[in-house]
Symmetry: C2
Subunit: 317 residues, 2 copies
Amino acid sequence: MIEEIFIQKIFENDRRKVARAISIVESDNENSTELLKRIYQNVGGAYRIGITGPPGAGKSTITNQLTKLYRSLGKTVGIIAVDPTSPFTGGALLGDRIRMNDIGNDSGVFIRSMATRGSLGGLSKKANDAADVLDVAGYNYIIMETVGVGQSELDIAQAADTTIVVLVPESGDTVQAMKAGLMEIADFFVVNKSDRPDAKQAVTALQTILMMRPHDEHSWMPKIIDTIAVDNKGIIEVAEEISRHRMYLDQSGKFLKRREQRTKIRIKEIVEESIRKKLWNASGKEALNSALEKVILGSLSPYHIADEIIANFKNQL
Amino acid sequence: MIEEIFIQKIFENDRRKVARAISIVESDNENSTELLKRIYQNVGGAYRIGITGPPGAGKSTITNQLTKLYRSLGKTVGIIAVDPTSPFTGGALLGDRIRMNDIGNDSGVFIRSMATRGSLGGLSKKANDAADVLDVAGYNYIIMETVGVGQSELDIAQAADTTIVVLVPESGDTVQAMKAGLMEIADFFVVNKSDRPDAKQAVTALQTILMMRPHDEHSWMPKIIDTIAVDNKGIIEVAEEISRHRMYLDQSGKFLKRREQRTKIRIKEIVEESIRKKLWNASGKEALNSALEKVILGSLSPYHIADEIIANFKNQL
């Protein structure tokens, strides 16, 4: 049961309540669903930016610099950093935390890290739920920063209005990005650390690949922006390209289409997560464990057992 | 309906039938389930090796060299390479194919690439299913090679009897591996390209991190093996460490425990995939699309719609 005053405090951007609200959606229990249902009417004001790319490309630095730029323009920024952490390190790595420090004390910035390890899936759903909380709290921009490696991380980046793929000019990086499916989701590219010797070559390679994509003169053509994020070089150009893309979405009518598509993906995620939770509740786990013995004894295949579990599940739904 | 003669031909390692059987399990339809149920009694003879690590670490080269070594010892090898490919390149990248060429014409080796992009999930399930086919076809070793980046790729590596994590001595690589959860799943490490200047430093860093893991004198302590895979250096040591780990699993009783754990994960995957497919069949998709309009009109949240879809699903299961 969530009190109305708590909802109001979120809308007023009470930092402690916003933090608690995100903890609630992360826990993904009944309160979470109730909270998200009750704030939903107010969702939609924030512009969402996805920043993704391979590990070490400088995504956090770009997020940091872009945030400082938006702040200097009087805009507020919510950041959701999806950070793959190891269960035995027990949290985000120190380096990232330190880098975030100079924006972390600004009251117009809200930073939240989400772990990917040890969670029972549903990361993409939780990240979107957290973005909804920051959205209704009134943040102008929400930056969702993820390592572009797994499907769920890509899903998060793709849930944004504008998705930026950050690469570094290293041999093979472009090819790896292509392999990882990053090319398809980029609204534009940032080649960071562009003072490195092979930067020009990387940009040329990227351009060649982009030209191979099917496109016509009316469709959006992803640009490539050079940055040296640690020196704050190219960040204004990144912000300008975000604005240009936003304008394109508005004028082409694709803005609403994109949000519709995002809503569709989210409903699917919510349904699947909910069913998964029901499947493997206490009695589901028990059914699995007792069925397991039959497989070990060799009498039944995992597929036979799966049929049994599904038949059993039907009665519980 | 699958004919008995087809099953027999798989058991006899008829290459064309084995290839067709893997195509069937990849398609993941009713025939697939029937096939897997019928071969299951024969599964279990092959020893499964998972090879994972960041992109560019040299996993394919190690797989290739290890395969040649096993072949020289008279053993047969099945390889399942999970290759993240882009939908617009339309297949595995040329480089990997060329590298595989010198073992690809050996009748004692069976290579199968599986794409990760564009698939509707269930990759880990499909890779395990394909491994079952190669298992009953009589291959002595099955090597499952994946890029260690996403959860489903880690799941594949983890489904092996012995899991090897391949790293290169590059600054930050160890930290990134830690972030990506690779440390937890490694039975041992390979530091490839160990002739690079910072190789010693990388090994020391890795050792330090390993020492931090909780362990006692009776438990398995992951070693670090140096290789220069392109020059075939260190490959015998890798094979020896696989044997040593296999012996450890046998003597400690952990071999069966591990396979039991693997079966459990697989049953869960089969159940979830099956339910997901039923959820989003033609009528499920229609329900989603018509519900979507209500969300766009702002009258209901995605969470309300999800409730509706689940209630509706119950009647269909």
